[in-house]
Protein backbone atom coordinates (compact mmCIF):
# COMPACT_ATOMS: atom_id res chain seq x y z
CA UNK A 1 0.00 0.00 0.00
CA UNK A 2 1.03 3.60 -0.41
CA UNK A 3 3.82 4.77 1.82
CA UNK A 4 2.27 8.08 2.82
CA UNK A 5 -0.10 6.56 5.29
CA UNK A 6 -0.75 8.50 8.43
CA UNK A 7 -1.05 6.63 11.62
CA UNK A 8 -4.02 8.17 13.31
CA UNK A 9 -4.02 7.22 16.90
CA UNK A 10 -7.05 8.13 18.85
CA UNK A 11 -7.52 8.58 22.53
CA UNK A 12 -11.22 8.70 23.04
CA UNK A 13 -11.11 7.23 26.51
CA UNK A 14 -11.24 9.88 29.19
CA UNK A 15 -7.87 11.17 30.25
CA UNK A 16 -7.06 12.54 33.67
CA UNK A 17 -7.47 16.26 34.06
CA UNK A 18 -4.29 18.28 34.05
CA UNK A 19 -3.53 20.79 36.80
CA UNK A 20 -4.13 23.79 34.56
CA UNK A 21 -7.45 22.35 33.54
CA UNK A 22 -8.45 21.88 37.17
CA UNK A 23 -7.39 25.45 37.99
CA UNK A 24 -9.38 26.79 35.05
CA UNK A 25 -12.39 24.79 36.13
CA UNK A 26 -12.13 26.12 39.69
CA UNK A 27 -11.85 29.66 38.34
CA UNK A 28 -14.91 29.16 36.16
CA UNK A 29 -16.75 27.77 39.16
CA UNK A 30 -15.93 30.83 41.25
CA UNK A 31 -17.00 33.12 38.42
CA UNK A 32 -20.29 31.28 38.06
CA UNK A 33 -21.01 31.81 41.75
CA UNK A 34 -19.68 35.31 42.38
CA UNK A 35 -20.14 37.22 39.14
CA UNK A 36 -23.95 37.30 39.47
CA UNK A 37 -23.63 38.27 43.11
CA UNK A 38 -21.49 41.25 42.07
CA UNK A 39 -23.93 42.17 39.31
CA UNK A 40 -26.79 41.96 41.76
CA UNK A 41 -24.87 44.20 44.15
CA UNK A 42 -24.28 46.70 41.35
CA UNK A 43 -28.00 46.68 40.63
CA UNK A 44 -27.47 45.20 37.15
CA UNK A 45 -30.30 42.76 37.50
CA UNK A 46 -30.57 42.18 33.77
CA UNK A 47 -27.11 40.59 33.81
CA UNK A 48 -28.24 38.10 36.40
CA UNK A 49 -31.27 37.33 34.27
CA UNK A 50 -29.15 36.86 31.16
CA UNK A 51 -26.88 34.46 33.00
CA UNK A 52 -29.92 32.51 34.16
CA UNK A 53 -31.27 32.37 30.61
CA UNK A 54 -27.91 31.15 29.34
CA UNK A 55 -28.03 28.47 32.00
CA UNK A 56 -31.44 27.35 30.75
CA UNK A 57 -30.12 27.10 27.21
CA UNK A 58 -27.07 25.17 28.40
CA UNK A 59 -29.49 22.67 29.89
CA UNK A 60 -31.55 22.55 26.71
CA UNK A 61 -28.46 22.19 24.54
CA UNK A 62 -27.10 19.38 26.69
CA UNK A 63 -30.47 17.66 26.55
CA UNK A 64 -30.75 17.97 22.80
CA UNK A 65 -27.15 16.86 22.54
CA UNK A 66 -28.22 13.47 23.81
CA UNK A 67 -30.59 13.11 20.87
CA UNK A 68 -28.57 14.82 18.15
CA UNK A 69 -24.97 14.56 19.31
CA UNK A 70 -24.96 11.10 20.85
CA UNK A 71 -27.71 9.19 19.13
CA UNK A 72 -27.40 11.04 15.82
CA UNK A 73 -31.13 11.73 15.49
CA UNK A 74 -31.81 15.24 14.20
CA UNK A 75 -34.65 16.67 16.28
CA UNK A 76 -35.99 20.04 15.10
CA UNK A 77 -38.92 20.11 17.51
CA UNK A 78 -37.03 19.95 20.75
CA UNK A 79 -38.73 23.05 22.10
CA UNK A 80 -41.92 20.99 22.41
CA UNK A 81 -40.42 19.23 25.42
CA UNK A 82 -39.45 22.57 26.93
CA UNK A 83 -43.06 23.68 26.48
CA UNK A 84 -44.32 20.41 27.92
CA UNK A 85 -42.15 20.86 31.00
CA UNK A 86 -43.22 24.46 31.46
CA UNK A 87 -46.97 23.84 31.18
CA UNK A 88 -47.06 20.56 33.08
CA UNK A 89 -44.88 22.19 35.75
CA UNK A 90 -47.14 25.19 36.23
CA UNK A 91 -50.35 23.18 36.09
CA UNK A 92 -49.14 20.51 38.50
CA UNK A 93 -47.83 23.18 40.86
CA UNK A 94 -51.29 24.79 40.75
CA UNK A 95 -52.94 21.49 41.62
CA UNK A 96 -50.49 20.90 44.46
CA UNK A 97 -51.07 24.38 45.87
CA UNK A 98 -54.83 23.88 45.79
CA UNK A 99 -54.97 20.41 47.24
CA UNK A 100 -52.24 20.80 49.87
CA UNK A 101 -51.81 24.54 50.52
CA UNK A 102 -49.06 23.73 53.01
CA UNK A 103 -46.94 22.36 50.18
CA UNK A 104 -47.36 25.45 48.02
CA UNK A 105 -43.83 26.81 48.69
CA UNK A 106 -42.43 23.47 47.61
CA UNK A 107 -44.60 23.21 44.54
CA UNK A 108 -41.67 23.85 42.17
CA UNK A 109 -39.60 21.08 43.67
CA UNK A 110 -42.50 18.66 43.53
CA UNK A 111 -43.56 19.65 40.03
CA UNK A 112 -39.97 19.36 38.75
CA UNK A 113 -39.92 15.56 38.56
CA UNK A 114 -43.53 15.50 37.37
CA UNK A 115 -42.73 17.87 34.51
CA UNK A 116 -39.54 15.97 33.70
CA UNK A 117 -41.37 12.67 33.50
CA UNK A 118 -44.19 14.21 31.46
CA UNK A 119 -41.64 15.52 28.99
CA UNK A 120 -39.88 12.16 28.89
CA UNK A 121 -43.21 10.47 28.19
CA UNK A 122 -43.78 12.95 25.38
CA UNK A 123 -40.35 12.03 24.09
CA UNK A 124 -41.36 8.39 23.94
CA UNK A 125 -44.66 9.35 22.31
CA UNK A 126 -42.74 11.17 19.61
CA UNK A 127 -39.99 8.58 19.43
CA UNK A 128 -42.17 5.54 18.89
CA UNK A 129 -43.69 6.47 15.52
CA UNK A 130 -40.43 7.87 14.13
CA UNK A 131 -38.23 4.90 15.02
CA UNK A 132 -37.77 3.95 11.39
CA UNK A 133 -36.93 7.44 10.22
CA UNK A 134 -33.49 8.92 9.89
CA UNK A 135 -31.91 12.12 8.70
CA UNK A 136 -34.11 14.60 6.86
CA UNK A 137 -37.31 12.60 7.29
CA UNK A 138 -36.87 12.52 11.02
CA UNK A 139 -36.08 16.25 11.03
CA UNK A 140 -39.33 17.03 9.20
CA UNK A 141 -41.48 14.92 11.50
CA UNK A 142 -39.93 16.37 14.64
CA UNK A 143 -40.34 19.87 13.21
CA UNK A 144 -44.02 19.16 12.69
CA UNK A 145 -44.30 17.75 16.18
CA UNK A 146 -42.86 20.91 17.69
CA UNK A 147 -45.35 23.03 15.80
CA UNK A 148 -48.26 20.79 16.75
CA UNK A 149 -47.46 21.12 20.43
CA UNK A 150 -47.23 24.90 20.15
CA UNK A 151 -50.50 25.13 18.23
CA UNK A 152 -52.29 22.83 20.64
CA UNK A 153 -51.16 25.05 23.51
CA UNK A 154 -52.20 28.21 21.65
CA UNK A 155 -55.66 26.74 21.15
CA UNK A 156 -56.18 26.29 24.87
CA UNK A 157 -56.07 22.51 24.80
CA UNK A 158 -58.68 21.05 27.12
CA UNK A 159 -59.17 24.47 28.70
CA UNK A 160 -55.87 23.94 30.49
CA UNK A 161 -53.35 26.14 28.75
CA UNK A 162 -55.31 29.41 28.56
CA UNK A 163 -54.32 29.85 24.91
CA UNK A 164 -52.20 32.74 23.79
CA UNK A 165 -52.79 34.58 27.07
CA UNK A 166 -50.55 32.09 28.82
CA UNK A 167 -50.28 30.84 32.37
CA UNK A 168 -50.79 31.59 35.16
CA UNK A 169 -54.19 33.10 34.44
CA UNK A 170 -54.92 36.70 35.35
CA UNK A 171 -55.23 37.11 39.08
CA UNK A 172 -53.27 33.98 39.85
CA UNK A 173 -49.64 33.76 40.83
CA UNK A 174 -46.91 31.23 41.13
CA UNK A 175 -46.26 30.82 44.83
CA UNK A 176 -42.93 32.15 45.94
CA UNK A 177 -40.65 29.15 46.43
CA UNK A 178 -39.36 27.87 49.73
CA UNK A 179 -36.63 29.95 51.31
CA UNK A 180 -36.76 32.86 48.89
CA UNK A 181 -38.36 35.33 51.29
CA UNK A 182 -35.95 34.38 54.05
CA UNK A 183 -32.99 34.94 51.74
CA UNK A 184 -34.33 38.28 50.59
CA UNK A 185 -34.75 39.36 54.21
CA UNK A 186 -31.43 38.07 55.49
CA UNK A 187 -28.88 37.75 52.70
CA UNK A 188 -27.79 41.34 52.24
CA UNK A 189 -24.63 43.32 52.74
CA UNK A 190 -23.08 46.62 51.73
CA UNK A 191 -19.43 47.31 51.04
CA UNK A 192 -16.82 47.17 48.27
CA UNK A 193 -19.05 49.60 46.43
CA UNK A 194 -21.84 47.02 46.33
CA UNK A 195 -25.27 47.13 47.83
CA UNK A 196 -26.23 43.51 47.71
CA UNK A 197 -29.67 42.19 48.44
CA UNK A 198 -30.77 38.71 47.47
CA UNK A 199 -33.42 38.57 44.76
CA UNK A 200 -35.85 36.34 42.98
CA UNK A 201 -33.52 36.30 39.96
CA UNK A 202 -30.53 35.20 41.95
CA UNK A 203 -32.57 32.44 43.56
CA UNK A 204 -33.53 30.98 40.20
CA UNK A 205 -30.08 31.57 38.81
CA UNK A 206 -28.56 29.34 41.47
CA UNK A 207 -31.22 26.69 40.98
CA UNK A 208 -30.44 26.72 37.26
CA UNK A 209 -26.72 26.45 37.95
CA UNK A 210 -27.31 23.46 40.20
CA UNK A 211 -29.47 21.83 37.54
CA UNK A 212 -26.80 22.51 34.91
CA UNK A 213 -24.22 20.80 37.10
CA UNK A 214 -26.55 17.84 37.49
CA UNK A 215 -27.10 17.74 33.73
CA UNK A 216 -23.37 17.82 33.02
CA UNK A 217 -22.81 15.04 35.53
CA UNK A 218 -25.53 12.84 34.07
CA UNK A 219 -24.53 13.50 30.45
CA UNK A 220 -20.90 12.65 31.19
CA UNK A 221 -21.94 9.42 32.82
CA UNK A 222 -24.16 8.62 29.86
CA UNK A 223 -21.31 9.19 27.45
CA UNK A 224 -19.18 6.60 29.22
CA UNK A 225 -22.00 4.11 29.67
CA UNK A 226 -23.05 1.08 27.68
CA UNK A 227 -25.99 3.10 26.45
CA UNK A 228 -23.58 5.80 25.27
CA UNK A 229 -21.54 3.26 23.38
CA UNK A 230 -24.61 1.76 21.79
CA UNK A 231 -25.59 5.25 20.61
CA UNK A 232 -22.22 5.70 18.97
CA UNK A 233 -22.58 2.35 17.24
CA UNK A 234 -26.14 3.10 16.19
CA UNK A 235 -25.12 6.48 14.79
CA UNK A 236 -22.55 4.76 12.62
CA UNK A 237 -24.50 1.81 11.33
CA UNK A 238 -27.80 0.59 12.67
CA UNK A 239 -27.62 -2.86 11.11
CA UNK A 240 -24.12 -3.50 12.41
CA UNK A 241 -25.14 -2.19 15.83
CA UNK A 242 -28.08 -4.59 15.91
CA UNK A 243 -25.88 -7.45 14.82
CA UNK A 244 -23.60 -6.99 17.82
CA UNK A 245 -26.66 -7.23 20.02
CA UNK A 246 -27.81 -3.65 20.52
CA UNK A 247 -31.56 -3.18 20.76
CA UNK A 248 -32.00 -0.25 18.40
CA UNK A 249 -35.58 0.44 19.44
CA UNK A 250 -34.67 0.70 23.09
CA UNK A 251 -31.54 2.75 22.41
CA UNK A 252 -33.50 5.27 20.34
CA UNK A 253 -36.32 5.57 22.83
CA UNK A 254 -33.81 6.12 25.62
CA UNK A 255 -32.24 8.89 23.60
CA UNK A 256 -35.57 10.55 22.91
CA UNK A 257 -36.84 10.24 26.46
CA UNK A 258 -33.62 11.28 28.19
CA UNK A 259 -33.25 14.23 25.84
CA UNK A 260 -36.85 15.22 26.41
CA UNK A 261 -36.44 14.84 30.16
CA UNK A 262 -33.87 17.64 30.31
CA UNK A 263 -36.06 19.74 28.09
CA UNK A 264 -38.81 19.30 30.64
CA UNK A 265 -36.55 20.15 33.56
CA UNK A 266 -35.46 23.33 31.78
CA UNK A 267 -39.08 24.11 30.90
CA UNK A 268 -40.50 23.95 34.40
CA UNK A 269 -37.58 25.98 35.72
CA UNK A 270 -38.03 28.56 32.97
CA UNK A 271 -41.72 28.88 33.83
CA UNK A 272 -40.97 29.48 37.50
CA UNK A 273 -38.12 31.84 36.75
CA UNK A 274 -40.24 33.92 34.37
CA UNK A 275 -43.33 33.51 36.56
CA UNK A 276 -45.24 33.25 33.31
CA UNK A 277 -45.39 31.12 30.16
CA UNK A 278 -47.12 31.64 26.86
CA UNK A 279 -46.90 29.79 23.55
CA UNK A 280 -44.76 32.63 22.18
CA UNK A 281 -41.76 31.23 24.02
CA UNK A 282 -41.94 27.95 22.16
CA UNK A 283 -41.67 28.85 18.50
CA UNK A 284 -39.81 26.88 15.87
CA UNK A 285 -37.04 29.48 15.96
CA UNK A 286 -36.23 28.44 19.52
CA UNK A 287 -35.70 24.84 18.39
CA UNK A 288 -33.44 26.13 15.66
CA UNK A 289 -31.44 28.16 18.18
CA UNK A 290 -30.83 25.11 20.31
CA UNK A 291 -29.67 23.12 17.31
CA UNK A 292 -27.43 26.08 16.40
CA UNK A 293 -25.94 26.07 19.90
CA UNK A 294 -24.98 22.44 19.53
CA UNK A 295 -23.64 22.76 16.02
CA UNK A 296 -21.71 25.90 16.82
CA UNK A 297 -20.26 24.59 20.06
CA UNK A 298 -19.51 21.13 18.76
CA UNK A 299 -21.80 18.12 18.65
CA UNK A 300 -21.62 15.74 21.54
CA UNK A 301 -19.44 18.13 23.50
CA UNK A 302 -20.34 19.50 26.93
CA UNK A 303 -18.04 22.57 26.91
CA UNK A 304 -19.23 23.15 23.35
CA UNK A 305 -22.85 23.33 24.45
CA UNK A 306 -21.95 25.83 27.16
CA UNK A 307 -19.94 28.03 24.81
CA UNK A 308 -22.64 27.79 22.14
CA UNK A 309 -25.32 28.86 24.61
CA UNK A 310 -23.24 31.86 25.64
CA UNK A 311 -22.72 32.92 22.04
CA UNK A 312 -26.20 32.28 20.68
CA UNK A 313 -28.29 33.33 23.68
CA UNK A 314 -25.92 35.46 25.68
CA UNK A 315 -24.53 37.95 23.19
CA UNK A 316 -27.79 39.34 21.73
CA UNK A 317 -29.39 39.47 25.17
CA UNK A 318 -26.33 41.22 26.46
CA UNK A 319 -26.51 43.89 23.80
CA UNK A 320 -30.20 44.39 24.41
CA UNK A 321 -29.73 44.39 28.17
CA UNK A 322 -26.83 46.82 28.07
CA UNK A 323 -28.88 49.16 25.92
CA UNK A 324 -31.89 48.94 28.24
CA UNK A 325 -29.80 49.65 31.30
CA UNK A 326 -28.19 52.65 29.71
CA UNK A 327 -24.62 51.36 29.96
CA UNK A 328 -24.35 51.44 26.19
CA UNK A 329 -25.88 54.53 24.63
CA UNK A 330 -28.44 53.00 22.32
CA UNK A 331 -32.08 53.78 21.95
CA UNK A 332 -34.52 50.96 22.53
CA UNK A 333 -35.23 50.76 18.80
CA UNK A 334 -31.57 50.43 17.91
CA UNK A 335 -31.15 47.74 20.52
CA UNK A 336 -34.07 45.71 19.26
CA UNK A 337 -32.78 46.19 15.72
CA UNK A 338 -29.53 44.57 16.80
CA UNK A 339 -31.58 41.83 18.37
CA UNK A 340 -33.32 41.24 15.06
CA UNK A 341 -30.12 41.26 13.09
CA UNK A 342 -28.89 38.33 15.13
CA UNK A 343 -30.73 35.97 12.78
CA UNK A 344 -28.67 37.34 9.94
CA UNK A 345 -25.44 37.25 11.89
CA UNK A 346 -26.02 33.74 13.18
CA UNK A 347 -27.01 32.52 9.74
CA UNK A 348 -23.79 33.88 8.36
CA UNK A 349 -21.84 32.46 11.27
CA UNK A 350 -23.32 29.02 10.67
CA UNK A 351 -22.42 29.12 6.98
CA UNK A 352 -18.85 30.13 7.75
CA UNK A 353 -18.63 27.49 10.45
CA UNK A 354 -19.92 24.72 8.22
CA UNK A 355 -17.43 25.64 5.54
CA UNK A 356 -14.39 25.98 7.77
CA UNK A 357 -14.94 24.19 11.02
CA UNK A 358 -17.85 21.77 10.69
CA UNK A 359 -17.01 20.05 13.96
CA UNK A 360 -17.83 23.21 15.97
CA UNK A 361 -15.70 25.32 18.30
CA UNK A 362 -15.14 22.76 21.02
CA UNK A 363 -15.97 19.39 19.50
CA UNK A 364 -15.97 16.14 21.41
CA UNK A 365 -12.98 14.01 20.51
CA UNK A 366 -15.05 11.40 18.78
CA UNK A 367 -17.10 13.85 16.78
CA UNK A 368 -13.93 15.66 15.77
CA UNK A 369 -12.72 12.35 14.40
CA UNK A 370 -15.87 12.02 12.40
CA UNK A 371 -15.94 15.47 10.92
CA UNK A 372 -12.43 16.89 10.78
CA UNK A 373 -11.70 17.77 7.15
CA UNK A 374 -8.16 16.40 7.24
CA UNK A 375 -9.68 13.09 8.10
CA UNK A 376 -11.64 13.13 4.87
CA UNK A 377 -8.35 13.51 3.09
CA UNK A 378 -6.89 10.58 4.93
CA UNK A 379 -10.00 8.61 4.14
CA UNK A 380 -9.70 9.46 0.47
CA UNK A 381 -6.06 8.42 0.53
CA UNK A 382 -6.88 5.16 2.15
CA UNK A 383 -9.66 4.48 -0.28
CA UNK A 384 -7.23 5.04 -3.05
CA UNK A 385 -4.84 2.42 -1.75
CA UNK A 386 -7.73 0.06 -1.18
CA UNK A 387 -8.56 0.47 -4.83
CA UNK A 388 -4.97 -0.34 -5.68
CA UNK A 389 -5.03 -3.47 -3.59
CA UNK A 390 -8.18 -4.70 -5.23
CA UNK A 391 -7.22 -3.94 -8.79
CA UNK A 392 -3.52 -4.66 -9.07
CA UNK A 393 -3.59 -8.21 -7.91
CA UNK A 394 -1.44 -9.44 -10.80
CA UNK A 395 1.60 -7.47 -9.77
CA UNK A 396 1.00 -8.61 -6.20
CA UNK A 397 3.57 -6.19 -4.87
CA UNK A 398 1.12 -5.07 -2.24
CA UNK A 399 1.83 -6.20 1.24
CA UNK A 400 -1.49 -7.79 1.99
Amino acid sequence: MGGSKMDIRTSVSTTKMSRTKMALLALAGLAVVFVPVVFQGMGQIFMVRIMAVIGLYVMLALGLNIVVGYAGLLDLGYIAFYAMGAYVGILSAEVISHVWPALAPFSYFISLPIAALAAAATGIALGTPVLRLRGDYLAIVTLGFGEIVRIVITNDAGGLTNGAAGLPRAGQMITSPFGLQWLIDNARFTGFGLDFAFSNNLYWYFIIVLLCCLTVFVVRRLDDSRLGRSWVAMREDEVAAASVGINITVAKLWAFSLGALWGGVAGVTFANFQQFVSPESFTFMESVFIVCIIVLGGMGSIPGAILGAIIIQGVPELIRGLANSGIVKLTAEQASLIGNYRFLVFGLLMVVMMANRPQGFLPSKRRAMELAPEDEKVLAEENQSLYDVEHQTETSDHDL
Binding site: R9, D237, V244, G245, N247, E370, T393
Partner: protein
Protein backbone atom coordinates in the same frame (compact mmCIF):
# COMPACT_ATOMS: atom_id res chain seq x y z
CA UNK B 1 -27.95 -27.03 16.25
CA UNK B 2 -29.67 -24.87 13.65
CA UNK B 3 -32.72 -26.16 11.88
CA UNK B 4 -34.47 -24.20 9.18
CA UNK B 5 -37.89 -25.60 8.34
CA UNK B 6 -39.44 -24.68 5.02
CA UNK B 7 -39.08 -20.90 5.24
CA UNK B 8 -40.71 -18.55 2.77
CA UNK B 9 -39.44 -14.98 2.82
CA UNK B 10 -40.91 -12.14 0.81
CA UNK B 11 -39.59 -8.80 -0.37
CA UNK B 12 -42.92 -7.06 -0.74
CA UNK B 13 -44.85 -9.24 -3.19
CA UNK B 14 -41.81 -11.10 -4.43
CA UNK B 15 -41.21 -14.48 -2.90
CA UNK B 16 -37.45 -14.62 -2.50
CA UNK B 17 -37.34 -17.89 -0.58
CA UNK B 18 -39.77 -20.56 -1.70
CA UNK B 19 -39.42 -23.06 1.05
CA UNK B 20 -35.85 -23.46 2.24
CA UNK B 21 -35.01 -26.20 4.70
CA UNK B 22 -31.53 -26.79 5.97
CA UNK B 23 -29.65 -27.96 8.98
CA UNK B 24 -26.37 -27.16 10.62
CA UNK B 25 -24.85 -29.58 13.12
CA UNK B 26 -22.53 -28.47 15.87
CA UNK B 27 -18.91 -28.26 14.71
CA UNK B 28 -19.71 -28.19 11.01
CA UNK B 29 -18.89 -25.82 8.22
CA UNK B 30 -21.96 -25.57 6.05
CA UNK B 31 -22.00 -23.50 2.91
CA UNK B 32 -24.78 -22.07 0.79
CA UNK B 33 -23.82 -21.53 -2.82
CA UNK B 34 -25.75 -20.39 -5.82
CA UNK B 35 -25.99 -17.71 -8.44
CA UNK B 36 -26.81 -14.09 -7.83
CA UNK B 37 -30.38 -13.75 -6.64
CA UNK B 38 -30.69 -17.40 -5.68
CA UNK B 39 -31.58 -16.40 -2.13
CA UNK B 40 -28.34 -17.15 -0.28
CA UNK B 41 -28.08 -13.83 1.50
CA UNK B 42 -31.82 -13.72 2.02
CA UNK B 43 -31.59 -17.06 3.81
CA UNK B 44 -28.86 -15.71 6.05
CA UNK B 45 -30.72 -12.50 6.72
CA UNK B 46 -33.83 -14.48 7.62
CA UNK B 47 -31.86 -16.57 10.08
CA UNK B 48 -30.21 -13.53 11.62
CA UNK B 49 -33.54 -11.79 12.10
CA UNK B 50 -33.04 -8.96 9.62
CA UNK B 51 -35.94 -10.41 7.65
CA UNK B 52 -38.91 -12.31 8.99
CA UNK B 53 -40.15 -15.43 7.20
CA UNK B 54 -43.80 -15.43 6.21
CA UNK B 55 -44.10 -19.17 6.66
CA UNK B 56 -41.87 -21.75 8.20
CA UNK B 57 -39.73 -21.69 11.29
CA UNK B 58 -36.12 -21.53 12.37
CA UNK B 59 -34.94 -23.44 15.40
CA UNK B 60 -31.68 -22.89 17.20
CA UNK B 61 -30.65 -25.26 19.98
CA UNK B 62 -34.24 -26.41 20.25
CA UNK B 63 -35.80 -22.91 20.58
CA UNK B 64 -37.62 -21.02 17.87
CA UNK B 65 -35.69 -17.94 16.73
CA UNK B 66 -37.67 -17.01 13.62
CA UNK B 67 -39.45 -13.69 14.04
CA UNK B 68 -37.01 -12.46 16.66
CA UNK B 69 -35.29 -9.11 16.07
CA UNK B 70 -31.60 -9.15 15.18
CA UNK B 71 -30.30 -8.29 18.63
CA UNK B 72 -32.29 -11.14 20.20
CA UNK B 73 -30.89 -13.63 17.72
CA UNK B 74 -27.44 -12.28 18.51
CA UNK B 75 -28.12 -12.83 22.20
CA UNK B 76 -28.81 -16.49 21.44
CA UNK B 77 -25.30 -16.79 20.07
CA UNK B 78 -26.07 -16.66 16.35
CA UNK B 79 -23.72 -14.00 15.05
CA UNK B 80 -23.82 -12.68 11.53
CA UNK B 81 -20.86 -11.07 9.84
CA UNK B 82 -22.89 -9.03 7.42
CA UNK B 83 -22.44 -8.65 3.71
CA UNK B 84 -20.31 -5.64 2.83
CA UNK B 85 -18.56 -5.93 6.21
CA UNK B 86 -20.40 -3.07 7.91
CA UNK B 87 -17.65 -2.29 10.36
CA UNK B 88 -17.91 0.86 12.46
CA UNK B 89 -15.88 3.11 10.20
CA UNK B 90 -15.32 5.89 12.74
CA UNK B 91 -14.35 3.65 15.60
CA UNK B 92 -10.86 2.34 16.06
CA UNK B 93 -10.10 -1.31 15.42
CA UNK B 94 -9.97 -1.96 19.16
CA UNK B 95 -13.29 -0.20 19.70
CA UNK B 96 -14.84 -2.22 16.89
CA UNK B 97 -13.73 -5.38 18.64
CA UNK B 98 -15.07 -4.10 21.95
CA UNK B 99 -18.40 -3.45 20.27
CA UNK B 100 -18.36 -7.06 19.12
CA UNK B 101 -18.27 -8.06 22.77
CA UNK B 102 -21.11 -5.66 23.61
CA UNK B 103 -23.29 -8.32 25.20
CA UNK B 104 -20.51 -9.79 27.29
CA UNK B 105 -19.47 -8.61 30.72
CA UNK B 106 -16.58 -11.00 31.47
CA UNK B 107 -13.70 -8.55 31.22
CA UNK B 108 -10.96 -11.18 31.39
CA UNK B 109 -12.64 -13.30 28.76
CA UNK B 110 -12.98 -10.31 26.47
CA UNK B 111 -9.30 -9.53 26.88
CA UNK B 112 -8.33 -13.11 26.13
CA UNK B 113 -10.49 -13.15 23.03
CA UNK B 114 -9.03 -9.84 21.93
CA UNK B 115 -5.55 -11.37 22.14
CA UNK B 116 -6.83 -14.38 20.27
CA UNK B 117 -8.20 -12.42 17.34
CA UNK B 118 -5.05 -10.30 17.23
CA UNK B 119 -3.08 -13.52 16.96
CA UNK B 120 -5.38 -14.72 14.24
CA UNK B 121 -5.05 -11.44 12.38
CA UNK B 122 -1.69 -9.86 13.27
CA UNK B 123 -2.55 -7.19 10.76
CA UNK B 124 -5.28 -5.92 13.05
CA UNK B 125 -2.93 -5.63 16.00
CA UNK B 126 -0.74 -3.32 13.94
CA UNK B 127 -3.78 -1.23 13.19
CA UNK B 128 -5.35 -1.40 16.65
CA UNK B 129 -5.57 2.36 17.13
CA UNK B 130 -6.60 3.15 13.60
CA UNK B 131 -10.12 3.96 12.52
CA UNK B 132 -12.00 1.10 10.88
CA UNK B 133 -12.83 3.18 7.83
CA UNK B 134 -9.18 3.72 7.03
CA UNK B 135 -8.45 0.00 6.69
CA UNK B 136 -8.13 -1.72 3.34
CA UNK B 137 -10.89 -3.99 2.11
CA UNK B 138 -9.17 -7.12 3.26
CA UNK B 139 -8.40 -5.67 6.65
CA UNK B 140 -12.00 -4.59 7.01
CA UNK B 141 -13.17 -8.11 6.27
CA UNK B 142 -10.76 -9.42 8.90
CA UNK B 143 -12.08 -6.84 11.33
CA UNK B 144 -15.68 -7.81 10.58
CA UNK B 145 -14.88 -11.45 11.25
CA UNK B 146 -12.87 -10.61 14.34
CA UNK B 147 -15.76 -8.52 15.63
CA UNK B 148 -18.03 -11.52 15.12
CA UNK B 149 -15.62 -13.79 16.99
CA UNK B 150 -15.53 -11.33 19.91
CA UNK B 151 -19.17 -12.15 20.57
CA UNK B 152 -18.19 -15.78 21.31
CA UNK B 153 -20.61 -17.09 18.71
CA UNK B 154 -22.17 -20.52 18.94
CA UNK B 155 -22.89 -20.22 15.25
CA UNK B 156 -20.99 -17.76 13.09
CA UNK B 157 -22.63 -16.81 9.84
CA UNK B 158 -20.48 -15.26 7.15
CA UNK B 159 -22.07 -13.47 4.24
CA UNK B 160 -19.82 -13.38 1.18
CA UNK B 161 -16.55 -12.86 3.04
CA UNK B 162 -14.54 -13.03 -0.18
CA UNK B 163 -16.53 -10.38 -2.01
CA UNK B 164 -14.36 -7.81 -3.74
CA UNK B 165 -11.10 -9.03 -2.26
CA UNK B 166 -7.81 -9.96 -3.87
CA UNK B 167 -7.21 -13.72 -4.24
CA UNK B 168 -4.38 -13.66 -1.73
CA UNK B 169 -6.65 -12.18 0.88
CA UNK B 170 -9.47 -14.52 0.00
CA UNK B 171 -7.16 -17.43 0.71
CA UNK B 172 -6.21 -15.94 4.05
CA UNK B 173 -9.87 -15.47 4.95
CA UNK B 174 -10.70 -19.06 4.06
CA UNK B 175 -7.74 -20.37 6.03
CA UNK B 176 -9.01 -18.44 9.01
CA UNK B 177 -12.48 -19.93 8.60
CA UNK B 178 -11.01 -23.44 8.69
CA UNK B 179 -8.92 -22.54 11.71
CA UNK B 180 -11.92 -21.10 13.51
CA UNK B 181 -13.85 -24.25 12.79
CA UNK B 182 -11.02 -26.41 14.13
CA UNK B 183 -11.03 -24.42 17.35
CA UNK B 184 -14.68 -25.33 17.80
CA UNK B 185 -16.83 -22.76 16.00
CA UNK B 186 -19.77 -23.83 13.92
CA UNK B 187 -19.91 -21.92 10.65
CA UNK B 188 -22.56 -21.17 8.10
CA UNK B 189 -20.95 -19.66 5.05
CA UNK B 190 -22.61 -17.96 2.11
CA UNK B 191 -20.35 -17.66 -0.90
CA UNK B 192 -20.23 -16.79 -4.54
CA UNK B 193 -16.85 -18.44 -4.75
CA UNK B 194 -18.34 -21.93 -4.89
CA UNK B 195 -15.09 -23.80 -5.52
CA UNK B 196 -13.35 -22.51 -2.42
CA UNK B 197 -16.43 -22.70 -0.24
CA UNK B 198 -17.17 -26.33 -1.17
CA UNK B 199 -13.53 -27.26 -0.70
CA UNK B 200 -13.61 -26.35 2.98
CA UNK B 201 -17.23 -27.19 3.77
CA UNK B 202 -18.43 -30.35 5.45
CA UNK B 203 -21.74 -29.99 3.68
CA UNK B 204 -23.18 -27.69 1.09
CA UNK B 205 -26.53 -26.55 -0.19
CA UNK B 206 -26.99 -25.34 -3.74
CA UNK B 207 -29.68 -22.70 -4.04
CA UNK B 208 -31.53 -21.77 -7.17
CA UNK B 209 -34.25 -19.12 -7.36
CA UNK B 210 -35.29 -19.49 -3.77
CA UNK B 211 -35.26 -23.26 -3.48
CA UNK B 212 -32.65 -25.83 -2.57
CA UNK B 213 -31.63 -27.72 -5.64
CA UNK B 214 -28.94 -29.98 -4.36
CA UNK B 215 -27.39 -30.89 -1.08
CA UNK B 216 -24.59 -33.12 0.05
CA UNK B 217 -21.07 -33.24 1.44
CA UNK B 218 -18.85 -30.45 0.11
CA UNK B 219 -16.47 -32.80 -1.66
CA UNK B 220 -19.33 -34.60 -3.43
CA UNK B 221 -20.85 -31.37 -4.63
CA UNK B 222 -17.48 -30.32 -5.91
CA UNK B 223 -17.49 -33.44 -8.08
CA UNK B 224 -21.11 -33.10 -9.12
CA UNK B 225 -21.45 -32.49 -12.81
CA UNK B 226 -24.38 -30.09 -12.59
CA UNK B 227 -22.59 -28.02 -9.98
CA UNK B 228 -19.42 -27.97 -12.00
CA UNK B 229 -21.29 -26.76 -15.04
CA UNK B 230 -23.45 -24.18 -13.34
CA UNK B 231 -21.18 -22.74 -10.69
CA UNK B 232 -17.62 -23.69 -11.34
CA UNK B 233 -17.56 -22.50 -14.92
CA UNK B 234 -16.86 -25.84 -16.57
CA UNK B 235 -18.35 -26.87 -19.85
Amino acid sequence: MLKVNDIHTFYGQIEALKGISLEVQEGEIVTLIGANGAGKSTTLKTISGALAPKHGSIEFEGGIISGMPIHKVTQKGVIQVPEGRRIFARMTVTENLEMGAFLRSDKDGIKDDMDRVFEMFPRLRERAGQKGGTLSGGEQQMLAMARGIMARPKLLMLDEPSMGLAPVIVELIFETIVELNKSGSTILLVEQNAAMALAIADRGYVLETGTIKLTGPGKDLLQNEEVRKAYLGET
